[in-house]
Symmetry: C2
Subunit: 324 residues, 2 copies
C-alpha cells in the first residue's frame, strides 16, 4: 500500500444526488474534485454507483422534470454535469479513513491511498429489504414493491387499491399513514403482537379506518409476474400460510447508512450509524470533513434534499479550505 504524492483539495466519496451535486459545485469553485464513486455489488442487496436512484424506474418528484425522469437517466445527467466542469472520477470504494492528521488518508478498494485536504462523505444509505428474490425483482422493475411511500405512494397504480406495509416502528407507521390517503386499505404486517412505534404514532394508526393491522405475521414471498398480485404471509406462531391480495408492498424495516468504512475514525455517528452534522450545515465533528445526503439524513431521504445538502457541503468545504 503506497500513498500517492498529490494531495487532493476535495475528495467526494459517493455518487448519488449529494455526491454529484457536491462535485458540480466544487468543480465550479475550481477545487478540482476527485469523486470516488464506488463499485457495483449485489450482496445483500444491489448497490450501484449512482446510489438508490439507479434502482428506481420513474422519479416524479425531483423538481425540474414535470414529465418525470428515470432514476438512471437522472444520475447520468448529474454525472455528466459534474464531469463537464472537470470533476474526476474513480470507480473505487473507500475501505478505511484516517482523519487524525492532515492531509487525510483514504484507503481505496484498489489498495492505494488517496490524500485529501478535505473530504465530503456522501455514501448514502440503503433501505433494508426482506431479502426475497421476488421482492427485489418487483422493486427494481416498477412492479409495485417499494421502500419509500413519499417517493412512490402517489403513483396512479396505488390509488384506491389495497396496499401493505411491513414493519412495526415509527417510520412504518408514518408510511402507513401516508399511504392511507391514497389506498382503499393499508395492511400493516408485523411479526409481533405489539408495535415498537411511539404511543402517539400507534394511536394515529390504530384509529385510522383505512389501516388494518395484521399481527404475528411475516411476508415469506411476493407473487406476481410483472406487477405484484399477492403477498404470502406466514403466521409467526402457528406457521400457517395464506395469501393476501395487494397492489403495492412497502417495506419499512429501516435503512442502513453506508458508514462502515468510517469505523475506527473519530467521526461522530448517531446510534443508527448516520453521520452527525451540525444543524442546517454539512459540518461534521471533524474539521475539514463534511457529510451530505442520506448518509447524514435519517429524516427526509429525498433526491432533492440530498442534492441540496451536497451543494451545502461543497460550499462549506470551499469556505473552509480558503480559511486554512
Amino acid at each position: 500500500m503506497s500513498a500517492g504524492g498529490d494531495v487532493e483539495k476535495v475528495v467526494i466519496v459517493g455518487s448519488g444526488p449529494a455526491g454529484w451535486t457536491a462535485a458540480i459545485y466544487s468543480a465550479r469553485a475550481n477545487l478540482d474534485p476527485l469523486c470516488l464513486i464506488g463499485v457495483p455489488r449485489t450482496d445483500p442487496a444491489p448497490v450501484l454507483p449512482g446510489g438508490q436512484l439507479m434502482l428506481t424506474t420513474e422519479v416524479e418528484n425531483y423538481p425540474g422534470f414535470p414529465e418525470g425522469i428515470t432514476g438512471p437517466d437522472m444520475m447520468q445527467a448529474f454525472q455528466k454535469q459534474a464531469e463537464r466542469f472537470g470533476s474526476r472520477v474513480r470507480g473505487v470504494d473507500v475501505t478505511a479513513c484516517e482523519f487524525g492528521e492532515r492531509p487525510f488518508k483514504l484507503t481505496t478498494s484498489e489498495n492505494d491511498v488517496v490524500l485529501a485536504e478535505s473530504v465530503i462523505i456522501a455514501t448514502g444509505a440503503t433501505a433494508n429489504w426482506l431479502g426475497l428474490d421476488n421482492e427485489l425483482r418487483l422493486a427494481t422493475s416498477g412492479g409495485g414493491v417499494s421502500a419509500c411511500a413519499v417517493c412512490d405512494g402517489a403513483l396512479p397504480m396505488f390509488r384506491d387499491q389495497p396496499l401493505a406495509v411491513v414493519g412495526g416502528g415509527d417510520s412504518a407507521m408514518e408510511e402507513a399513514s401516508y399511504l392511507a390517503k391514497f389506498a382503499s386499505t393499508v395492511y400493516v404486517i408485523h411479526r409481533r403482537d405489539s408495535l415498537r412505534a411511539s404511543q402517539a404514532m400507534q394511536d394515529r394508526v390504530l384509529s385510522n379506518d383505512r389501516i388494518e393491522m395484521v399481527w404475528n405475521s411475516q411476508v415469506v414471498d411476493v407473487h406476481g409476474e410483472k406487477m405484484i398480485e399477492t403477498i404470502e404471509l406466514e403466521d409467526t406462531q402457528t406457521q400457517e400460510r395464506r395469501h393476501l391480495a395487494v397492489k403495492g408492498l412497502f417495506i419499512a424495516i429501516g435503512h442502513t447508512p453506508a458508514t462502515s468504512f468510517l469505523e475506527g475514525s473519530d467521526i461522530q455517528l448517531d446510534d443508527e450509524g448516520y453521520v452527525v452534522v451540525k444543524g442546517g450545515s454539512s459540518h461534521t465533528n471533524l474539521e475539514g470533513v463534511f457529510a451530505a445526503g442520506d448518509v447524514a439524513d435519517p429524516t427526509y431521504r429525498q433526491a432533492i434534499t440530498a442534492a441540496g445538502m451536497g451543494c451545502q457541503a461543497a460550499l462549506d468545504a470551499e469556505r473552509w479550505l480558503s480559511e486554512h
Copy 2:
C-alpha cells in the same frame, strides 16, 4: 374584508424553487396546496413570481441539466410539475398574517383572507442593488453584472479577466476570494477606507495577490452596450470620477429577505430579518408555520438548497398535520 369559508390544509407563500418544491411534495401527499405566488413589481428592483431566477439568464449549477437551463424555463418547469399534481395557484401577495390562533389568517393583496391549517413561507430574498439603471439592465440580460459569485463566477466570460466586487462586509470578501480563483484581478470597491468584514476575512483578502482594494470609492454608473465595459467610480472624498475597465461587476451589499408581511406576527426573525428555522428542518418557532428557501437561509442561497428546503417543509407540514 371577509374570510373565505374553506380552510386550506397548506398554504404556500412564494413561488421560487422552495415554494414550488413544497407544492410538488404537498400536492403528492394529497394536501391540495394553495400557492400564493405574488404579483410582479418593479420598485425598488424587479420582483417577479418565480423569484430571483426569473431574472437569471443561464443556470449551470442546478443538478440535472448538464447543458444548463434558463432561470425562467426552470421556474416554468417547476410550476408545471406542481400543477400537474394538483397545486392551485393565485397571483396575489400576502400583506399580513395572523398566526395567533388556528386556522391561521393570511390577508392577500386582493384584500380577502385565506384560512390555513398550516403555512409554508417561501418568499425568498432579493439581492440589494446599487440602484443604477445600467446595472439592472446588464444584470438581467447576462451582461456581466451579478449579485452571486457562486452562481456566475465560473462562467467562461469571467476567466482571467478583471472583475470588480462592491461591498465591505464578510460576504463581499467571500465573493472576492471566490472570484480571485478565476479572475486576473478582483477590484474590491468600498465607500470607506476600512472594512466591516471580520479580521480573518480581511487578512485573507488583503494577502491575496489577485485582489486589489479600491478605497473611498463608489460606483456611480456602469457602461457597456451588451456587455459591461467599464464602471464609473466616484471618490467619496474628492468627488473625482474615473473609469475602471472590468468584464464583470459583482454587487455584494447584502440581501433583503421578503419578510415585511410577517411584521406583527409572532414569528421569530433574526437581526437581518430572516425567518429562524430549527437546524436542519423547516420548523419555525410557531407550530404549523414552516419556512424554506432564501427567506430562511442567509448562508447558501442556491436554487438547489432552496428546493431541498421546500421538500423538507412539505414533509414537515405533512407530518405535523397528520399529528394534529
